[in-house]
Symmetry: C2
Subunit: 400 residues, 2 copies
Amino acid sequence: MTWVEGAAGSPYGVHNLPYGVFRHDGRAPRIGVRIGDFVLDLDGAEAADLILAGGALRRPVLNDFMALGPAQWGAVRARIVELLVGEEHRAEVQPLLVPLAEVELVLPFEVGDYVDFYSSEHHAANVGQIFRPGQPPLLPNWKHLPIGYHGRAGTVVVSGTSVVRPCGQRSTPDGPVFGPSQRLDIEAEVGFVVGVPSALGDRVPVGDFAKYVFGVVLVNDWSARDIQAWEYQPLGPFLGKSFATSVSPWVTPLAALADAWVAAPDQDPVVLDYLRDVPHVGLDLRLAVEWNGTRVSEPPFATMYWTPAQQLSHLTVNGASLRTGDLFASGTVSGPDRGQVGSFLELTWGGTEPVAVGDDPARSFLADGDTVTITATAPGPDGTTVALGEVTGTIQPARP
Amino acid sequence: MTWVEGAAGSPYGVHNLPYGVFRHDGRAPRIGVRIGDFVLDLDGAEAADLILAGGALRRPVLNDFMALGPAQWGAVRARIVELLVGEEHRAEVQPLLVPLAEVELVLPFEVGDYVDFYSSEHHAANVGQIFRPGQPPLLPNWKHLPIGYHGRAGTVVVSGTSVVRPCGQRSTPDGPVFGPSQRLDIEAEVGFVVGVPSALGDRVPVGDFAKYVFGVVLVNDWSARDIQAWEYQPLGPFLGKSFATSVSPWVTPLAALADAWVAAPDQDPVVLDYLRDVPHVGLDLRLAVEWNGTRVSEPPFATMYWTPAQQLSHLTVNGASLRTGDLFASGTVSGPDRGQVGSFLELTWGGTEPVAVGDDPARSFLADGDTVTITATAPGPDGTTVALGEVTGTIQPARP
């Protein structure tokens, strides 16, 4: 039990300990770990020799620390627990605790490549039914490989960053026109952050997931559906997605999610060998989507058809190398029910079935000034709950 | 006229001066500029105060220098010419010339995001005819916007890096199978390197191309056609491309290509305002593709339908920001004739019309051990020629 005020019993107790990067008192960004409603200044802790990480905690981003690998991640985590639970270091550690309310959280890692998968069967089938009614909801390749594509790493932003409504081309009966997107949407996703790099030409076996992946963030893959619909043939989404992708400021280490692994949905047909993960498990992350304060959906990550380990092995099976900071997201998380979908496209069935949001009885896509916040929790050890922070963003009007 | 031995009259004379990063004598990578068959050590030149660039030339990559912007690019270039032409600094400069034969050229810049366009009408139409015979060769959006997608920045490699044949899924009549790609191809392209960053939410007007783009590289966007064909619906190419993208080691600054601008093909229908470039110009770069020493194609970059300035304004019209080191490539460069195509898919018409390569009378896609080299030249001032270096790579067998 930690001595940090208010942290025992919190979903940010010593069983969680997500990493982030914060600004405080006008100083340069520093690495910290969240405990209750405080941030433990890990830069300060390493400077004081309370934690030894070869200087990796004294950087403005998590990358050097994430590159150290599972053994050192484990050692640092164990040491942090020791500092926050034992009384013998309390006098030294206490001054390194900064109230969360006083800090600004910044993008916690330098993003290498950003890949976005499309791994929810319910989401893919919903999109298929909305856009290709009367045809098979899934394309022929969907159950054979985790479909994915590269997104824009340079526009991955931290939670809280405003999102300017994108302009672009959309198709009309009179031909394409230019203007602000009229179908601005969200995609509630879970992102995995690569710590340990791999060499060009190598593959990461499906069983080696935990040797490479450091942790998890929440992702909102903002999407302009009208721009996307016009541009995406034949090379996929581009400007409909590249204007902004928001991530939560806290990277939850895999170690905090050890109790969250659950059997993933059975896969039929049987997948090719390089995708066969034993055990075939996903994470029981329970997402929630709030639209201007109204909880409109609770997407269950455990229902994802393709698992994170399968995504990683697929991503590298052609010899593509991994860099520290690579981010791969799950794709929109949608469960089987309307109240479990991860996009407003699905929630309002292509905009044809508006929903009540706050005082507004009928909303479909995002209006200027709207705020969307995605949160998630997971089961922790001994009946505890692990919270994964939040990813939030507010829509600003398009620029003239 | 330069005093550097053999450089006067060379396509790498003082009218060219491409930048690169080299290793020599076991020392750390340094920035250099090519003059004839020598590399002028710019790290050494700045260290000796022969050139002033605020330390930007004393880095292991070009990024800091590229971020300085057009005024400083111009000043440094003018100073380099002064050093190589005037006799007064010859005694100090001569020791900074390293024979090209003695250096190893490395990746000259840290790649931000890598975007690949699809801007040759001939290429897009050829691909359409090969894959969708009997249908309109171009999709409805093609002439309204420069189609593009994000590729994998982390697997952009420098010319000379071997390319391991990728493994992956391909479709067969009996269902998908896993194995080495059997249709490994090239794409001869031209890449543009961003120097000056832009802010999130801003757009780069079509007329501001030269304020942001530093220079040009040659690109070979290696492509596994069988992997690509099976995976690309609906989110675009992924593993069929992400295993490797090769770039030339020399970044030719736009200033060296001032005489290479030519009228671009007329565009019909008229494009939307944000894409209207005046003058509507492309670059007269003449590419050549050698397959195991046989020159199989001479793709003319001047035939590209969408211009580099249009590509950049499209890329940012949704507010996507630019980072120094962002690379956007043209897409396969193909002219109207079979001898002008930039991919073997087109050269052999989907593999159905093999070509003679060296002693082999009938080749379609790449075999292990094959080497492909792409070069290019452009018209320089006063009847000179500007050479853009080369991008070369050899196929290694797939790994078990």
